[in-house]
Amino acid sequence: MGLLTGKRVFSIMALCMMVGLLLLPIVVALPSPAIGEEAPAGDAVKKDGDKVEKGRDVYYKTEGIVVGAPAPKTTDGPKDYPRYNFESRVLLWFANQQHLYYGSFVLAVPIFCMIIEFMGVVTKDKALAKRYDQLAYDFIKISLTAYSLTAILGGILIFTFLTLYPAFFGYLSSIFRPVMHIYALMFVAESGTLYIYYYGWDKMKEGFLKWIHLSMSVILNIIGTLLMFLANSWIGFMMSPAGVDEQGRYLGNIWHVIHTALWNPLNLHRILGNMAFGGGVVAAYAAYKFLAAKTDEDRAHYDWMGYIAMALGVSFLIPLPFAGYWLMREVYAYRQQMGITLMGGLLAWLFIIQATMIGILFLSTNYYLWQAMGRMRGAEKYQRYIKYLVFLLVCGFLVFITPHTMVMSPAELKAMGGQQHPVLGNFGVMSAKNGGINVIITTTVLSFVWYMRGNKVSTVSWAKFGNIFMGVFFACAYVNIIWLAIYGYYIPANVRVGLSVPQVATTLSCLFFMFALNSVMMRGAKQMGPIEWGKISVRSQYALIMLATAFTWMMALMGYIRSSVRLFWHVNEIMRDNSPWAYTHTVGFAANMISFNVLFFWISILFVFWMGSLAAKKVPVEAKAGIPGNVPQPAASH
């Protein structure tokens, strides 16, 4: 009892320490805005006597006292752009991308851990609860090695900035000075909480202590998310600056600098993106382990792990296009030219590639689910309908990837009789594309519903009515989405943009209502047979690897698009890029660079996985065999 009390005290102290760490940066930062305002103001007084210079915020249009220096007007030379015998921008691109990959991974995995640990805590089936707990632990173990690499890559990134872009980095640092140390302290807090969370796992595995441990994961994720928000404020500022005047002089309000026009859409998009990416990477890890497994037990475990990671990743992938849509809408609202450069101009072809990648993600997901139905007895009844799902998916996909401006030779252009194809050109505009992606997502939801009821037969008295209702609901959803896509051609553009709301609402209705109804219908359902974990086809595992690779490629692509939309500006309309590399790369070069980044990430993450497996080898055999059930049972796993 005494020991238990001691443990309780210890765990509460640890939790308090974490909260303390969370609050530390805020407490330390309290005086900094004041310092940030007063110190340069003093300079202003020195310069202009008693006169206080005022400036107008470029975005908020408010007046503020000028407390910063103007953005430097750089010139090409060793002072502003020192360099090696290589394109500095490409080096920075590489360092940035790798840091982002690992940063995303280590931010996403703790969120998974939190969800999976919570599932373990609330699951009544003790064997399953233990497996969830073990899975969460496995995840955090991988994350820990990746965490060190993230920090190393962060250091490399800062050194690259300081070495190759000193004037630009100096300017950004001067603007963000009031929060620079908060950012650094957040890292300390993140590391501290992560270590306490990881090393406290075994000591806090039951009862009240487990709940304390779970609370720690919540705090860990709050810190991680705040950290990401701060990092996002830098890129938000570079794209859509605020809190400075036309010359780029800081006006003393750090909140304006952080809370730029694109900050919130970026935050949401990145949270969802990180989660989908994290799920993809863990699923690929599980797929790799599945393919390399030598025993049925291992295959069963990694099959299950891959499924859980894929399901978590995809659950965040589904709302991702909508978050992206919001981001683009805000981009257009901020600067029309920026929007046109992205969607209709210079970078439009990259968006076609992005659409292709999104399509691959959804196609891989659906394919995995159909393969997964192969390990369920009773799911055969759905197999013959899969060809119709393929048809729907492909129609949506083809519309989604059809370019507005087609790549063609002048001879083809002449034969076509104009820049736009009279049939396919119609698929190239937003109205059709909204329809296309919503058809794809709705079909994915339908595949999920089939998977969830694959080996079950509903026993509720209203099962027949429920099935008919679900069928009609999905049919109406398709009709509504397609009808709105066509109707979009006949109404003003501002109304058409608004049409995406009912389309998205239709898709989300399918997601929530159909999942809920299906769950109710399948409560106490008759099982046709167990899910035979480990009996899935190897093709499904390649689909998971494809899913993860597509995530990684798309992430790099979108990062490149977001960054290059600033064209020849370091900070949009404030600080011009006067280096020799202020031009936009060709699509081919960008694609090669993205592929190189993806390849490097996967090679390095394989190293991380290998390190993780070295640690796993030290675990005594009994501990592994101690997991009851060996082959996981389906129970409430989906």
Partner: protein
């Protein structure tokens, strides 16, 4: 169910006969016309009919004890899509797009034939048979593939490496991003905020809803309001400005952009690409009026770097028209096509 499948089979056979006729030029590809205005949906609908038709055909053949092997179903369907895109859809689809569609369809066929283990085995069986070469025929086939495949790949490589005299492919940006502002006749216009001064209601205030209600019905060519005829001299305000814009259009623009505003004017086919087709939903319907104002004023010569290879011979109309005339002609273009200028509210 059986009746439904029989109907499907009938559609499938009829469709295949039609497509075969089009490929061998026995039946003109315009026999079943793609109706302007409905073409994109018509194509998808036709495609859906074919899928239903093939499903019915497959069902019927199985029912009469002559199942069509899954291997040939997969290969056949993919070939069908490639032929459909090449011979059915007109005007011809550029190769790059057909390649994209063909790849996606190939992936789709793979997803379909490997969706479950049984189908996948059925699909693989003929390939495995040839590789195992247990019969004389399969042995022969294996040797044939051994010789043919390298020749085929060599042929492709040769074709790819052979220097060509064709003009290179262009990745043209049709709508380059506009500048933040543009200077026309000494006055600076901010593109984000400027408005067409002639898009006004009877009170003389800027009113897009009013003008939207008085245009030609899109794709139909009839007036939204019968009495809102700009060619009626009695009409004033917005409709009068449309009329004036129309006069300017027919004096200056229709030679290239055509009297239907579809880019097929008298001189259009002297250019490649032909002038912009305003009736296409991808041109003025996608853009703010100020974007059109900038493009008309500055012409092809004023395109930014992003607009490379600057394949536009439109003159900078600011040298020939007044600012008011440019605004009026834009007003007419939207009126005539039935499109609404893009807004961001």
């Amino acid at each position: 169910m059986k009746a439904l499948m029989s109907l499907g089979a009938l559609i499938g056979v009829a469709g295949l006969v039609l497509l075969g006729g089009m490929i061998f030029d026995v039946i003109p590809s315009t026999t079943v016309r793609l109706v302007e205005g409905y073409m994109p949906m018509q194509m998808l609908f036709e495609f859906a009919c074919f899928v239903a038709g093939f499903a019915g055909l497959s069902y019927m053949m199985s029912a009469v004890g002559m199942p069509f092997p899954r291997f040939w179903q997969g290969i056949g369907f993919w070939a069908f899509v490639l032929l459909y895109l090449k011979y059915r859809v007109y005007p011809p689809i550029p190769f790059s797009v057909r390649a994209m569609y063909g790849t996606v369809t190939l992936v789709a066929v793979f997803m379909w034939i490997s969706a479950n283990e049984e189908d996948w085995k059925k699909f693989k069986q003929p390939i495995m048979n040839v590789l195992d070469a247990q019969t004389g025929m399969n042995k022969l086939l294996r040797y044939a593939y051994l010789v043919l495949l390298p020749i085929l790949i060599g042929g492709f490589s040769y074709n790819a490496m052979k220097p060509k005299s064709e003009e290179p492919i262009e990745l043209r940006t049709v709508h380059p991003a506009p500048p933040a502002s543009t200077k026309v006749h000494g006055k600076t216009y901010t593109l984000q905020t400027s408005q067409n001064p002639y898009r006004v209601n009877p009170e003389g205030k800027y009113d897009q809803e009013f003008s939207n209600a008085n245009i030609v019905e899109q794709g139909m060519g009839r007036l939204m309001k019968p009495n809102a005829n700009p060619w009626d001299d009695k009409n004033t305000g917005y409709l009068k400005y449309v009329r004036e814009g129309g006069e300017i259009f027919f004096q200056n623009c229709h030679f290239c952009h055509g009297d239907n505003l579809n880019g097929r004017g008298l001189h259009a086919f002297a250019f490649n690409p032909i002038p912009a087709n305003f009736t296409d939903p991808g041109t003025i319907a996608q853009l703010q009026e100020t974007f059109i104002f900038w493009r008309v004023s500055k012409g092809g010569i004023g395109l930014p770097n992003e607009g490379f290879p600057w394949a536009s011979v439109m003159p900078p109309w600011e040298q020939h028209l007044t600012v008011d005339e440019i605004w009026k002609v834009i007003l007419f273009e939207y009126w005539h096509t039935g499109y609404y200028p893009r807004t961001w509210d």
